[in-house]
């Protein structure tokens, strides 16, 4: 034994034990795994959350030094980004200017024209400011941030933004910082507006950049009621010089004193910007994520054969994700800080780690034998795949280790994450996923068990004899003939996925809830992030309460958050506080009270018409009101990124300008006065905003109503049917319990009325059709031929002999026999007989799938001596076989031995009688062309003309009764009771020597049948007789595609060639008698046996393709479509199997005693016969489409035979009637 093999064995054994462990203690293991995941993820809490909002840090101005690059140990709250010099220092000069006193002769333009004009002189002042002291002479040019070109894409801003020089922005930039241009500008507002971007602009517009305050605070508009213009001159400095800035500050203050200004100027704020993801980076990122999702989708799609696909897929994804989280957490724990962008490398990590192992595990576990215990299945599955899993993992680790030695830091880090991720993924697979899988498999087995329970529950063991079904009918069932589906737990319907999703959403109202939660969260975020809202309030509260509010430079400035809460501009609060304004004739003065300030104390003697310039705390850090993209976008114009860097914002320099009206008038442009007086609405601003609010509300309401109407219309258009309301128009359907599935969805109802073909006096025994004609034979021996299209009775072939009697007579006879038998021979037959007799008139539910043994019971029975009954002659015939044959011909084998025994007694006597009778009953019938082949119990084969009703020929070569017939081309194959198989050839001697062929319309599968005309002389020759075809009686005979297939009690299936009657194969594989066989033109052979097994064979090679166990008890019938195999069994289960793989797709549990007969109308439409009704099923999804009731009578007359005709019609027997059901509407719906 090599080392490799030993290793392999060891690994396999270890995995086996591990699997046992996982499957034995699922709950503790899952708890343990979750705990370890959480533990490993705990270090992640320390990592910063992703987000693009900037972070601030405030220091004092006085002792400010540029922070060093080296990380310093314990600087307390100093953030780790606060290292090295900032990108720039921002010095803002906040200018508030007003024309005072306001004069009624002034026009609205005067509000901002002259104040704006003053910016140029201020600019001059700032530019030319020079500070000289002992260390030298400093000017702005030396300190400011020198910028070069704008980015190539910004040509249109070239005229506005500075290039090749100091980055100094002010409103003056609109006019190239030239007073002359401003003075000659007829409409400054228009100039400002010209540069605004069209349409929706998001954050930082040019106007914001140049004015340095948000647009609505500038006061540059015609409707400025405060008449105060605010703007800033922003100077961007590259280095910080205290003395220069100090002198500039004092100079400006000296020139333009702000009397009431008490702004604090001892704090500078450092703002750190996170990396922003632009669209350009987003596109590749999104692409990788799309690829990732496609990968996950395609991988998890392969999970199959489990109880909950979604659950397992989720578990697989959870496994991978949490292993990644664990890897990051572990790496962080051991001191490695992730430097890579997590969002970027994440998809690659997932792809590298992969979902393959999980899928392999699932597949391996699922493919273990089903009959094993769950534990053992898991263990076996694990150990089967252990070697490949270990091998793959070793390979991947090797590859990643190679990657580690590339010595590129980024790749090394990636590899490190991947290695740890792989290991933790392996751990999670072994513990988490395996356990989840074991739970899932167990659930599946439980579900299987549950589904089988009702079938067994239908047979309560203590009650003996056939009485039990009548004694205890299930009371809650509303009407006995409806196929009521089982309770939802027992149903295993396969709805389409999308429907399931929709149902799920509808049931749980998930969408609404998500939307609701989303709205609440959104509102919460809005409230929280609102500048004047909760956050600042909270911050204020915190800073008030915190004892170290302003200790050192690191603390939050105490004034920071207080201001917005007691907002200076809040009109209502200030109005109530301040004394009432003096009455003035001018309407504009109404607003005077509004800017009574809450900040510093107002000047005591204010002339009534003087626009007041106030300095509030909100001006202190006016930049806060700007968008947080303000600075990044300003810098990005010059190709300077602020991502992962910080800027320092210096305290503002306040400048107050008071201009006299004369000055304002002087600076007027000639066109200013020509402007029409602005249509100042006389309503107050409050009302104005109210109006807009109302407008918005009304518009929103209208839009909502429109949307609802639109959706309603859409609904009406798309869903014309009234789902769920079982219609008033469909009165007939309401008779039965409408089959509703567990979602309350009832299938669309369309009326299918069966056509009843009446005429037979007794129960119908045989049914044959060739597409055009329909032949039926009843117990009385009468053969009737019907037109399959119209349902007209064409011919009646009466049974010649003793039983040619009227139907009433027949019944009387039987009734008489019943009464006589009951009266005369109670002692002989005992209770068995009594029970039997009782069960005859009303067929009990449970026995509908038993054959009707009445044909075996001779009506002449009463004249037999009773002693004959007591000792049945068992010598001559195999009565067991007879009974079997009768059972199987009805495609409904016996339920067990108990009911069979009394019947056998009956049958034994019947058998003697039947053969003694000179004219025996018809046991098998076939119809091809115009010829009806009838096999009789006497072993006679008769050929009748279907149209004329005349006997064309007969063959009496065999003596054993013909149990089954196959009529193909011009050959007839007859299976006899004694297990022999006879091949007959039908020879037609045409006088004209011409054979007309009549193709069956619309059906390619049917070989063209020769049409026999009445002049032909037809002879039927026995060409070959296979004496011992089977050891035991032949139960099934099917012929197609030139092959004859027989199934027998001896557990074998034999395939014969039709031409030379040579036995090709003997197929062995069943462990019980064969009960059902299906073969079609495509040479697919399926057989079902009493062992509940279904075998698929390849007829060409005789090999077994697949072998599945599907039923408890016999398989009663088998049908194939091109893609699946449908079987029904004694356990009242209809199973649908995939034809190529042999995997069970789903099963339908039916009511007890239903579903013995099956038919396939089209590729996706299945018909089953039930108690007085036939049901249509959608094969793709297992939905019950419709149940059609055959008669008004509600007694449980079962449908035992079901034939599907070409024109999508089905024929089934219904007691003594035939029922022809057309199903066009169902086809329509399917298409």
């Amino acid at each position: 034994m090599t080392l490799r093999e030993r290793l392999r064995e060891k690994i396999s054994a270890a995995f086996y034990h591990h699997g046992l462990l996982c499957a034995s203690y699922p709950v503790p293991i899952i708890l343990f795994t979750s705990a370890s995941i959480l533990t490993c993820c705990y270090p992640l809490l320390r990592l910063p959350l992703p987000g693009t909002g900037p972070v601030e840090f405030t220091t004092g101005v006085r002792d400010y030094t540029v922070p060093s690059h080296e990380p310093q140990g314990d600087l307390g709250e100093r953030p780790d980004w606060y290292r090295g010099p900032p990108v720039a220092y921002i010095q803002q000069v906040l200018v508030k200017a007003a024309v005072s006193p306001w004069d009624s002769s002034l026009v609205p333009v005067d509000v901002f024209r002259s104040p704006l004009g003053r910016v140029f002189s201020l600019l001059e002042e700032i530019r030319n400011h020079v500070h000289s002291d002992s260390t030298g002479v400093r000017s702005l040019e030396a300190l400011c941030l020198q910028v070069t070109d704008l980015l190539p894409g910004l040509r249109r801003m070239q005229s506005v933004l500075p290039e090749h020089g100091c980055l100094l922005v002010s409103p003056g930039n609109y006019w190239q910082n030239q007073r002359e241009l401003f003075d000659s500008d007829p409409d400054p507002l228009k100039t400002i507006q010209k540069h605004e971007p069209k349409g929706l602009h998001t954050s930082a517009t040019l106007r914001d950049l140049l004015f340095g305050v948000p647009g609505k605070h500038t006061g540059v508009s015609h409707y400025n009621r405060k008449r105060v213009v605010t703007y800033t001159i922003t100077v961007v400095l590259v280095s910080y010089d205290t003395r220069f800035l100090g002198s500039l500050r004092s100079r400006l203050k000296q020139l333009h004193p702000s009397a009431n200004c008490s702004l604090r100027d001892d704090h500078m704020v450092h703002v750190h910007f996170k990396e922003e993801i632009g669209i350009a980076e987003l596109i590749p990122l999104v692409t990788t994520y799309i690829i990732l999702f496609a990968y996950i989708y395609f991988s998890t799609r392969k999970i199959d054969m489990v109880k909950s696909k979604w659950g397992l897929a989720l578990a697989a994804v959870v496994t991978v994700l949490s292993s990644l989280l664990m890897s990051v957490g572990l790496c962080t724990l051991f001191g490695l800080t992730p430097t890579l962008n997590g969002g970027e490398i994440f998809p690659y990590l997932v792809v590298v780690i992969g979902l393959e192992n999980v899928l392999v595990l699932t597949k391996s576990v699922v493919s273990t034998p089903v009959d094993l215990e769950v534990k053992l299945r898991i263990a076996q599955g694990l150990s089967n795949e252990s070697w490949s899993i270990m091998k793959n993992m070793a390979t991947e680790l090797c590859i990643i280790l190679i990657g580690y030695f590339t010595l590129v830091p980024a790749i090394q880090e990636f590899c490190l994450f991947a290695v740890v991720g792989l290991v933790s993924d392996f751990f999670l697979q072994m513990f988490f996923f395996t356990t989840v899988l074991s739970i899932d498999i167990r659930r599946m087995e439980l579900a299987d068990l549950n589904r089988r329970l009702p079938a067994e529950a239908g047979l309560p063991p203590p009650k003996p004899g056939p009485l039990r079904p009548r004694e205890a009918p299930p009371p809650p069932r509303p009407s006995p003939h409806t196929i009521t589906l089982q309770t939802p737990a027992f149903r295993n319907l396969r709805l389409p996925k999308r429907l399931r999703v929709v149902y799920f959403l509808a049931r749980t109202r998930l969408a609404q809830r998500i939307i609701m939660v989303g709205t609440v969260i959104w509102i919460g975020i809005l409230v929280y992030t609102d500048p004047a809202g909760l956050r600042t309030y909270l911050a204020a509260q915190v800073s008030e309460q915190s004892p170290l509010g302003d200790s050192g430079g690191g603390g939050l400035p105490p004034h920071l958050g207080v201001a917005p809460v007691f907002h200076a501009g809040d009109p209502t609060s200030t109005l109530s506080v301040l004394p009432a304004p003096e009455p003035t004739p001018l309407p504009e003065n109404q607003s005077q009270g509004h800017h009574g300030s809450a900040g510093a104390g107002p000047r005591p003697q204010v002339p009534p018409a003087v626009p007041q310039i106030t300095w509030g705390a909100e001006d202190e850090e006016g930049w806060r009101r700007l968008s947080f993209r303000h600075w990044p976008s300003l810098f990005s114009y010059y190709n300077i990124t602020l991502a992962k860097r910080y800027i320092s914002i210096l305290p503002v320099i306040p400048v107050t300008l008071h201009l006299s009206p004369q000055e304002a008038i002087e600076t007027r442009h000639p066109q200013d006065t020509r402007h029409p007086p602005p249509p100042i609405p006389k309503v107050s601003a409050d009302l104005q905003t109210d109006l807009t609010l109302y407008k918005v509300a009304a518009l929103g309401l209208a839009a909502g109503v429109l949307l609802v109407l639109l959706l309603f219309c859409l609904y009406r258009v798309l869903c014309p049917r009234n789902y769920g309301q079982n219609g008033v128009a469909h009165g007939r359907r309401r008779r039965g319990d409408l089959p509703c599935d567990d979602y309350g969805y009832s299938p669309p109802v369309s009326e299918i009325s069966p056509l009843l073909l009446r005429g037979h006096s007794m129960d119908i025994e045989c049914l044959a059709s060739d597409g055009m004609l329909l032949a039926s034979c009843c117990l009385a021996g009468q053969i009737r031929v019907w037109d399959a299209q119209t349902g007209d009775c064409l011919t009646v072939i009466p049974n010649h002999g003793l039983r040619r009697s009227s139907s009433s007579g027949c019944w009387e006879q039987r009734d008489g026999w019943d009464s006589v038998g009951g009266a005369t021979e109670p002692e002989c037959l005992g209770s068995d007989y009594l029970l039997r007799r009782r069960s005859v008139p009303a067929r009990p539910t449970l026995f509908t799938d038993q054959p009707d043994l009445t044909p075996l019971i001779d009506t002449n029975f009463t004249c037999q001596p009773p002693s004959h009954l007591a000792t049945p002659p068992r010598g001559g015939f195999d009565f067991g076989g007879l009974v079997e044959r009768a059972y199987l011909e009805h495609e409904s084998p016996s339920l067990g031995d108990a009911p069979t025994l009394p019947a056998q007694d009956r049958a034994s006597t019947a058998g003697t009688q039947a053969t003694a009778d000179w004219d025996s009953s018809v046991w098998a019938m076939e119809l091809r062309g115009n010829l009806i082949a009838a096999g009789r119990s006497s072993g006679k084969l008769e050929l009748w003309d279907a149209v004329e009703g005349s006997l064309r020929c007969s063959n009496e070569d065999g003596v054993s009764g013909i149990t089954a017939l196959a009529f193909l081309n011009n050959r007839i194959v007859a299976a006899r009771l004694n297990g022999s198989l006879d091949f007959f050839t039908v020879e037609i001697n045409k006088p004209l020597g011409l054979l007309q062929y009549r193709g069956a319309p619309g059906r390619g599968s049917m070989p063209p049948s020769p049409c026999y005309s009445s002049e032909d002389v037809i002879s039927c020759q026995l060409t070959r007789s296979v004496q011992c075809a089977h050891q035991k009686p032949i139960t099934v005979l099917r012929a197609a595609a030139g092959r004859v297939v027989t199934g027998s009690q001896d557990h074998t299936v034999r395939v014969y060639r039709l031409e030379d009657s040579c036995c090709l194969f003997t197929l062995q594989g069943h462990s019980g008698g064969i009960t059902a066989i299906y073969i079609d033109q495509t040479m697919v052979l399926a057989s079902g046996g009493q062992d509940g097994a279904i075998c698929l064979w390849d007829v060409l090679t005789g090999s077994r393709v697949s072998h599945v166990y599907g039923h408890r008890g016999d398989v009663t019938s088998l049908v194939c479509t091109t893609s699946c195999v449908i079987s029904s069994g004694l356990d009242d289960l209809i199973c649908i199997w995939d034809r190529s793989t042999g995997i069970k797709l789903y099963s339908i549990q039916q009511e007890v005693g239903c579903g013995a007969s099956l038919g396939v109308i089209s590729e996706s439409l299945l018909v089953t016969g039930g108690q007085g009704c036939v049901s249509f099923w959608d094969l793709n999804f297992g939905d019950l489409l419709q149940t059609v009731y055959l008669g008004q009578s509600s007694d449980g007359q079962g449908v035992r035979q079901l034939l599907v005709l070409d024109n999508a019609a089905i024929v089934c027997d219904f007691g003594s009637e035939l029922s022809l059901v057309y199903v066009p509407s169902v086809l329509e719906k399917l298409d």
Partner: protein, 242 residues
């Protein structure tokens, strides 16, 4: 891309099903129009070519964007134009090349008579594409010490890609050949001045170009083989039915 792919396959299946269900119990159900289109060889070829072309164009655009990022630290607000910053004919060229490669691979497989059986499923293909994008990403984002290191790393990654997802000799040979040819063609174009690298570093480009080409060839070949599998399946089914 992948979504359209799945949508197509889904529609193939459903179309076929509908048609079959409509045709009743015919023993040989006539195929729907879609299936017949698929079975038609030339049409199938055209469809595959178109899909491969679009995939190629899409990948070229996205990867170009990745490369552009390396050179420009921050973007002007109108970034989208930078997607098309390179010459307009580059994406169509990539698309055409990928269509050719994707059709060539299954063709060569069938010529050599060794059908590619290794990991033939969409999840594997998706993984391959993701790794390819990842290689590009690494070459664009990761700072290497020198160009030799870059070349070696990328070569190792590309060969790892081939070993993980292809493992066929024909694939390797074709990949190497096409990569060399493409590099040569690019160099010729550059020397003739038709095309210029935007990168400041000429050597940088030259060191990753062959590896990226090789990985791209392997990826497109993988996609092409997977697409060809559909035709193969349909043909097989057809012959089986005949």
């Amino acid at each position: 891309m992948s979504l359209t792919l799945t949508a197509m396959t889904d529609s193939t299946v459903t179309g076929g099903q509908q048609q079959r269900s409509g045709s009743g119990q015919m023993s040989r159900p006539s195929r729907g129009p879609y299936i017949s289109v698929i079975t038609n060889r030339t049409t199938n070829l055209v469809i595959r070519g178109t899909m491969l072309f679009s995939v190629g164009v899409f990948l070229a655009l996205v990867l170009n964007l990745l490369q552009v990022q390396r050179n420009v630290t921050l973007f002007p607000p109108d970034v989208i134009s930078s997607i098309f910053s390179s010459a307009w004919w580059v994406p169509p060229c990539c698309g055409t090349a990928s269509a050719m490669i994707g059709l060539l691979y299954p063709c060569i497989d069938s010529r050599l008579g060794e059908p590619h059986k290794f990991k033939r499923e969409w999840s594997s293909v998706m993984r391959c594409v993701a790794v390819f994008v990842g290689i590009n990403h690494a070459s664009a984002k990761v700072d290497f010490a020198n160009n030799v290191q870059l070349s070696l790393t990328l070569a190792a990654l590309s060969i790892g890609l081939w070993w993980t997802f292809d493992r066929s000799r024909s694939g390797f040979g074709l990949g190497i050949g096409i990569a060399l040819l493409a590099t040569l063609a690019t160099q010729l174009l550059v020397y003739n001045g038709v095309f210029q690298y935007t990168s400041p570093d000429f050597l940088y480009i030259r060191s990753w170009l062959p590896c990226i080409f090789f990985a791209g060839v392997i990826t497109m070949g993988n996609i092409g083989r997977q697409l060809a599998l559909y035709e193969y399946k349909v043909v097989q089914e057809k012959t089986h039915q005949d």
